[in-house]
């Protein structure tokens, strides 16, 4: 591949690529993101390749393994272009039919389509499925169109045109002004205006400056950064190069978790391709601007995603945070000015340069512009990645895009912002989602995790879960974080074990305050959010645990018992056979009884009892009824004897 030396040559190349592509030629795209991989897309891919050959279609149909389409609940996803027919949950054995019916016969295979649960109608096109229809996929949309390992796919969609525009038509100051004007705020958690950070770094003294992509996505339940980096790595690279130009940096780092092997691989390929094309290296597109980038793999530490910790890790040392009396934009990696932004933030930059700050700023709310990708997970029907404009209500995200709560359960709360965020209850569902509103509700945007919880989630246990996570991940450097979290965790663990005391809630509040005020980095400063927000909205649950020794959601093991309702037990022997503790007595035609002393509360009996019987019950806060006497356990099966 010859180097591209000017914007004109880039356009020439793009024309060449597009003229070789027939928009009417059938193309099968298959989602090959991590989640679809886990549900078998690799096997489906092999089957598609084989079937194309078998049915004599080699060369007549294109096949593309794309990044994540977002609708992970229904993966693996196959979309047939140009019609955009969308097939869900595809198995290798479905492939021959897809090829012979849809590709050859131009007929839709009904049974593989999405069925709208409310109308029972089959939906043919991807963009008509409610999950997609209610989104605004600006940053994430190309993911389903391109093969992440093909720079030509990215170029065909207009890739690197923003870079060409910035380098040839704009001065670094103009690029900076544009980003400032767009009011783009950091998508990684804090929501700090990106333009202001860039400016601070640009104006900081020093010849050598760094730009950094933070892809150390550690929030459990959030995976949008991975999907972007895996599915569209060039968009992140392009944003980074534009940022470097504006800031005056010539060296960049992409810090990505080693737990994301596909992302590491695809970014590596993208960097190599960008080098070959001359988008990286010396004299980029003939502009005289030089820029190189290195990948740094993180070795698995949540706190290393904090900006100063991440920079310490890049230096090859233990990724612990350091005091930030001076911003990292002024003194970062090796004490040099360093501008760090999150994956999604960088990927948004090319859009702003191409379409202009005014276009970007008309989306969203007063204080938060543009769109945001959320990872909508937990007890929700349509699990997946969703991109929506800022200012959309939580209700719209969860019900319109997410399709509501599965199994007729009742919505309880949604947790946003990862371990540093908080829980938002039902009465706030009509709240508009943006940086400031979420903060007002005691939570935060964070990187965009959105975990939906139903009535079966215990809020005290959830707070305990987050504190357990944070105590494990706290680096231990500063006392308020290390000890504060540990003490809060101790109290919460006691409460969930039924050992809570009067005054525990107040003590938790007090500890929260100190941890928040005195910790060194954001991990400690926000650690109390899960505790405070659950106390704020679900104080009654805490009180039930402490005063009545009762877990209203029937989650906390020490506070619940399993009991077989003798009226409902049909003596089917299923639970009796499966109980790992041998705690169930009974027999054929003999009502089963749980020996409470032996029971380990593993819940197996509850899980395996056929729903039509529903005989196993959870009890909390009240004594277990005494077992029925032996002589009354016999079931007379009259109906069968007749």
């Amino acid at each position: 591949m010859p180097r591209i030396n000017s914007p004109a040559e880039l356009e020439e190349l793009r024309k060449g690529i597009l003229s070789n592509r027939d928009p009417n030629k059938p193309c099968i795209t298959l989602c090959s993101g991590t989640a679809c991989h886990a549900s078998g897309s690799k096997e489906v891919a092999a089957s598609i390749e084989e079937e194309i050959k078998k049915q004599g279609l080699s060369g007549k149909v294109d096949f593309r393994k794309t990044g994540c389409h977002g609708f992970c609940e229904r993966g693996p996803i196959v979309v047939i272009h140009p019609e955009k027919i969308c097939y869900l949950q595809i198995k290798p054995e479905d492939v021959p039919e897809i090829i012979s019916q849809t590709i050859k016969g131009k007929k839709v295979v009904e049974r593989l389509l999405y069925t709208d649960p409310s109308t029972n109608e089959k939906i043919v096109h991807e963009f008509e499925i409610p999950f997609y229809k209610n989104q605004e996929r600006l940053v994430f949309g190309s993911n389903g169109e391109i093969d992440p390992t093909s720079i030509n796919d990215y170029l065909a969609l207009g890739g690197y045109s923003a870079l060409a525009k910035a380098l040839s038509e704009m001065t670094p100051e103009q690029v900076l002004e544009e980003v400032k004007k767009s009011n783009l705020r950091g998508r990684g958690g804090g929501g700090f205006p990106a333009g202001r950070k860039w400016e601070e770094c640009r104006n900081a003294p020093g010849e050598i400056k760094y730009v950094i992509v933070n892809a150390d996505e550690g929030d459990p339940g959030a995976y949008m950064d991975r999907s972007l980096l895996e599915g569209n790595p060039h968009s992140v690279l392009e944003g980074l190069i534009i940022g470097a130009y504006a800031i005056g940096s010539h060296e960049g780092y992409i810090y990505v978790r080693q737990e994301y092997p596909f992302a590491v691989e695809n970014v590596g390929i993208a960097i190599q391709q960008a080098k070959e094309h001359g988008f990286l290296g010396e004299n980029i597109l003939g502009s005289g601007f030089d820029f190189t980038v290195k990948v740094h793999r993180g070795a698995g530490a949540f706190v290393s995603g904090e900006s100063s910790a991440l920079m310490t890790a890049i230096e090859g040392r233990v990724g612990e945070p350091r005091p930030k009396y001076i911003h990292t934009a002024i003194k970062g990696v090796w004490d040099r000015p360093s501008c760090l932004n999150n994956v999604e933030t960088w990927a948004t930059v090319p859009l702003i340069i191409n379409k202009g700050a005014d276009w970007f700023a008309q989306l969203g709310t007063e204080g938060s512009k543009g769109t945001k990708i959320f990872s909508l997970v937990g007890k929700v029907n349509n699990t997946g990645l969703v991109e929506v404009p800022m200012g959309i209500t939580l209700r719209d995200i969860i019900y319109k895009v997410g399709g509501g709560i599965p199994g007729d359960k009742k919505f309880k709360a949604v947790q946003t912002g990862g371990p540093s965020g908080g829980c938002i209850p039902e009465e706030k569902l009509d709240m508009k989602v943006d940086f400031d509103e979420l903060a007002k509700a005691g939570s935060m945007m964070g990187s965009g995790g959105m975990i939906v919880m139903d009535e079966d989630t215990c809020m005290v246990d959830l707070a305990r879960y987050f504190l357990d996570f944070l105590s494990d991940e706290s680096c231990g450097k500063c006392v308020p974080c290390r000890e504060g979290i540990r003490q809060m965790l101790k109290i919460l663990t006691n409460i969930t074990k039924g050992k809570g005391k009067e005054g525990d809630i107040e003590l938790l509040e007090e500890l929260s305050e100190v941890t928040r005020d005195a910790s060194l980095c954001a991990l400690g400063r926000t650690a109390a959010n899960p505790v405070l927000s659950t106390i704020r909205y679900f104080r009654d649950e805490y009180e039930a645990h402490i005063k009545e020794r009762r877990c209203p959601a029937y989650v906390c093991k020490e506070l619940i018992s399993y009991y077989i309702d003798p009226e409902k037990c049909k003596a089917c022997m299923i639970c009796l056979r499966q109980c790992p503790a041998g705690a169930i007595s009974g027999g054929k035609n003999q009502i089963h009884v749980i020996n409470q002393d032996k029971c380990t509360k593993c819940g197996t009996c509850f899980e395996v009892c056929p729903p039509r019987f529903g005989a196993v019950k959870k009890i909390s806060g009240e004594p277990v009824p005494p077992p029925i006497p032996e002589e009354a356990r016999m079931i007379a099966r009259e109906s069968k004897e007749k």
Partner: protein
């Protein structure tokens, strides 16, 4: 992992480790990257390897020890033949991951971070695998088992030897 087993046998011939270190000769900032490569090649970090890294990259051994114990990716003891990861991310947590983990622990008699005495299984928890749609998730040697129940998890593990 209890002491006393023959552990050296599992280590890769030193040649491989040397090659990795040589690539980064003298570049102390590459420490984490070097350790990651050795870990992925060898599945654990033997003391001899750390000493060699210290010498070649000119980084004090105590600093290497600090890095190697700080990050989750590194193991200072040999790992089992099969790696089990149980996802404990929030989405998996509320869908019942703790019960899956309990079942696995009971079956194998080891806790997260440990390896059984036969070096058959190593058990680990992870914070999020990013396939929340499949939660709760258990991964064995890179194979994903989604929407898994405690009973199914036990069944899956019984098939390994």
């Amino acid at each position: 992992m209890k002491e006393g087993k023959e552990v050296k046998a599992a280590a890769t011939p030193n040649g491989k480790i040397d090659q990795i270190i040589d690539k980064y000769q003298g570049d102390s900032s590459a420490l984490i990257q070097v350790l990651l490569e050795i870990q992925s090649e060898n599945h654990w970090l033997p003391k001899e390897a750390l000493e060699k890294v210290s010498e070649k990259l000119e980084v004090p051994l105590n600093q290497i020890q600090h890095v190697a114990t700080f990050y989750k990716a590194f193991s200072l003891v040999p790992r089992g033949r099969h790696e089990i990861q149980v996802c404990m991310g929030t989405a998996c947590h509320i869908r019942g991951a703790p019960r899956v983990l309990d079942a696995v622990q009971d079956l194998l008699g080891i806790h997260p971070g440990e390896t059984d005495l036969d070096l058959k299984f190593s058990l680990n928890t992870v914070n999020c695998l990013g396939c929340c749609a499949l939660g709760p998730v258990m991964v064995v040697d890179g194979k994903y088992h989604g929407k898994i129940t405690p009973t199914e998890a036990e069944k899956v593990l019984k098939d390994y030897d």
